[in-house]
Every structure is written in structure tokens, then in C-alpha cells.
Amino acid sequence: LENFAGDQVLRVEPCNEEQVRLLKELRALEPLQLDFWRFPSYPNEPADVQVPFACLQDVKVFLESRGIKYCVMIEDIQAAVDEERREMYLNQR
């Protein structure tokens, strides 16, 4: 079972074409293992990206150093998975 402890989902808001391009470059960086839930597309359209805990710092530094606005949308995915599993267990009972 994959564990998502500490993984976060960031909502990233590129404000111009250059920032969209940078996000697309970020997406192509395979070692980061980013999972874009909503792909970068146009300026002012948010992109949502799941970032593994191990890469959080790298990704945040990348965004902040280039002035790309973001917020943490989901603090800890594993907590959400655990909650969902608890609900399903209760439901089955």
C-alpha cells in the first residue's frame, strides 16, 4: 500500500505565460514524481499538484524563487485517505 504521509496538494496560480511555461517544465521533471491533478494551462487558471513529502521543499523553493503564487490546498493526503478509509469501514459495519 502506498503511503501518502506528508504529501500535500498545492494550488498554483500562474499569472502570465512565462509562469505557465515554468510549471510545464516542472511537470516534466520526472524525479520529483509530481502528480498534476489539474494541469497548468493558461495564466490565472489554477493548477493543482500533488507533491510527495520528500520533494515539498524543492517544489516550494522553485515556485517562490520564480514568484509563482501558490497555497496549500490539502495539508496531508494520508490524513484524508485515513479519514475516507475510516468512513468506509464504519459504513460497512
Binding site: 502506498e2 489539474r38 475516507e84
Partner: protein, 310 residues
């Protein structure tokens, strides 16, 4: 144990076996209008079941709906199952459903990517792709909504097998996609193609692989806006409407681009309720509200398709 569709809990997430069992229950309970077809097998040999809603006739014009091609979007499969029960139980009571099924057949693929769905239950909750193996790569799976023969391999799809939007080695390489394509082609009279996803509340029409406008843009935009308004009327859920390319992003190899190019004018994709705050883990208490509001939108599209034969 859940023994029949009257006691089944539609407001909960279920594993594949339970969903398939419930599909059988619906067929058993409404045998006059619902039957089950197998249109193929997934990569891992799971059956691909379609519920057929029909009041008879031969090769009537039809509406196709598929749900859950992206495995992790669980509210999609749950909504499709609720919808199946809704159509079956409303027949003879809802004039709109009567009129639809007296004119057209409806095919509903409740779990379009069963391997991925099982994997998302047992191994990785965030799994989106199929489970096919790619020769020469350690990574598994293809994004089945980048695998259709519509601008295949173009912008908005990845050639990297490890990517979550990997388009696959060739168009229709995924048996889950090919089975739907074969079914639609062999049927020959499908007039609407609706694909249901869930993330960020959108109702879209072609194209995704190009930002060019389709010939029927004005009509489809109008149909989609009417449907989105009907959907919003229930709980106020706001939807964005438009072509895939401008509403979200350019994405090639998508199902509704293929269906439109194949000649199915009324091709739409829903992205159901999910603000992103829960990701794909939409709390179970939102399943039925999501399904209920989606039904309003679907019915609006059905009525337009029924009243505008082509």
C-alpha cells in the same frame, strides 16, 4: 449484507464486486427495461459491463454514458450507479424518462476502468490510469483519456510511461478504450456520447486536442449551458461550460473528441463536484447530492438529444 437495490447504500463508496453485484440486482429488479451486456475485458481480465436501458425496438438511436475512466475519481462511479437505479426506478413515473426510453436506448458503462478502480481500492488511492504494462519501462498504465484516436500523441499528453497522462504506445492500445470504440462502431446508431469524470465542476464539449472551434459549437454551448443551469438549480453548484481546450487545457487523445469526429454530434464531458479541497476523496455524504444534481444536467441533455434527431 446488501441484498438488493432497495436496501443498497448508494451514499457510500463500494469495491468493484459490490458495484457489479448491485448492477445485477438492478437488472433483476427491472428486467423489462434493464439488461447487462459485456463489451469486453480489461487488461487484467475483468469484465467490462454496460447496462442497457431499452423499452424494445431494433437498433434504436442511442445515448452512451461512461463513468470512471480515471480510476481514482470515485464519486463518478458512485454517481453512475445511482443514476442507473434512478433511470430504472423513474421509468413509468417520470414522463421525461418515459419519453426518452420510448424513443431511444441508453447504454451506461458504470466502471470504465475496472483494473484501475480495484488498484485504487487496494494499493494506491491516487491511481488514475489503466494497469497495462509498457515494454521496456518499469512504470505501469496508460491514461485512458489520452489514448483515443483524436489528435493522438499531441499536446497535453505525455510520451513518458511514468507520467500520469501517458498517452500509450498507440491510439486505442488500451483494451478498455478499444472495447468502447468497437461497441460504438458496431452499434452504429449512437447519437450522444457523455463521459463522466470528477474534478472541479465543468461541462465541456470538443475539442481538447486543438483549440479550433467545432462546427456545432453554438448548439453544444447552448445545450451545455442549459444543462449546467439545470444542475445548478438544485444546490447552487457552479459549473464552468465550454470547449475542453479553453475551459481547462489542451489535451489530446480524449474520448469526446474521438466521438465527435466519429460523427456523434452530442459529445460532452462532465467533471463532477469537487472543489479540490478534498482532492478525489470527496466525502461520502456528498455522493447522493452530486448524483442528484448531475441527474438534472443529464436529463437536460437527454431531452435535447431526444428532441433533435439528426
Amino acid at each position: 449484507r446488501e441484498r438488493g437495490s432497495s436496501s443498497f447504500n448508494y451514499g457510500a463508496y463500494h469495491p468493484l464486486e459490490t458495484i457489479y453485484q448491485e448492477m445485477d440486482n438492478i437488472v433483476a429488479e427491472y428486467p423489462k427495461i434493464v439488461s447487462k451486456l459485456q463489451i469486453g475485458e480489461s487488461y487484467e481480465k475483468r469484465p467490462l459491463y454496460v447496462l442497457k436501458f431499452s423499452t424494445g425496438g431494433k437498433n434504436r438511436p442511442a445515448i452512451w454514458i461512461d463513468a470512471g475512466i480515471h480510476a481514482r475519481e470515485w464519486v463518478t462511479q458512485a454517481t453512475a450507479l445511482w443514476t442507473a437505479k434512478k433511470i430504472a426506478s423513474d421509468y413509468e413515473y417520470d414522463p421525461s424518462v418515459n419519453s426518452l426510453l420510448n424513443t431511444m436506448d441508453l447504454f451506461l458503462l458504470v466502471v470504465a476502468n475496472p483494473d484501475g478502480y480495484v488498484f485504487s481500492h487496494t494499493e494506491n488511492r491516487m491511481w488514475r490510469k489503466t494497469r497495462s504494462k509498457t515494454p521496456g519501462s518499469p512504470c505501469v498504465g496508460v491514461d485512458p483519456n489520452r489514448n483515443w484516436d483524436a489528435g493522438f500523441g499531441g499536446p497535453g499528453a505525455s510520451s513518458n510511461p511514468c507520467s500520469d497522462s501517458y498517452h500509450g504506445p498507440s491510439a486505442d492500445s488500451e483494451v478498455e478504450v478499444r472495447s468502447v470504440v468497437d461497441f460504438i462502431k458496431s452499434h452504429g446508431n449512437v447519437k450522444a456520447f457523455i463521459s463522466i469524470h470528477s474534478y472541479s465542476q465543468l461541462l465541456m464539449f470538443p475539442y481538447g486536442y486543438t483549440c479550433d472551434n467545432i462546427r456545432d459549437r453554438a448548439e453544444l454551448d447552448n445545450v451545455a449551458r442549459t444543462a449546467a443551469n439545470a444542475l445548478t438549480s438544485l444546490y447552487g453548484t457552479q459549473y464552468k461550460v465550454g470547449p475542453i481546450c479553453s475551459v481547462i487545457y489542451q489535451a489530446s487523445g480524449g474520448s469526446i473528441d474521438w466521438s465527435y469526429n466519429y460523427g456523434i454530434k452530442y459529445s460532452f464531458a462532465f467533471e463532477l463536484r469537487d472543489t479540490g479541497r478534498h482532492g478525489f476523496l470527496l466525502p461520502a455524504d456528498q455522493i447522493i447530492p452530486t448524483a442528484r444534481e448531475t441527474w438534472m444536467g443529464l436529463k437536460s441533455i437527454f431531452e435535447h438529444v431526444r428532441d433533435h434527431p439528426y
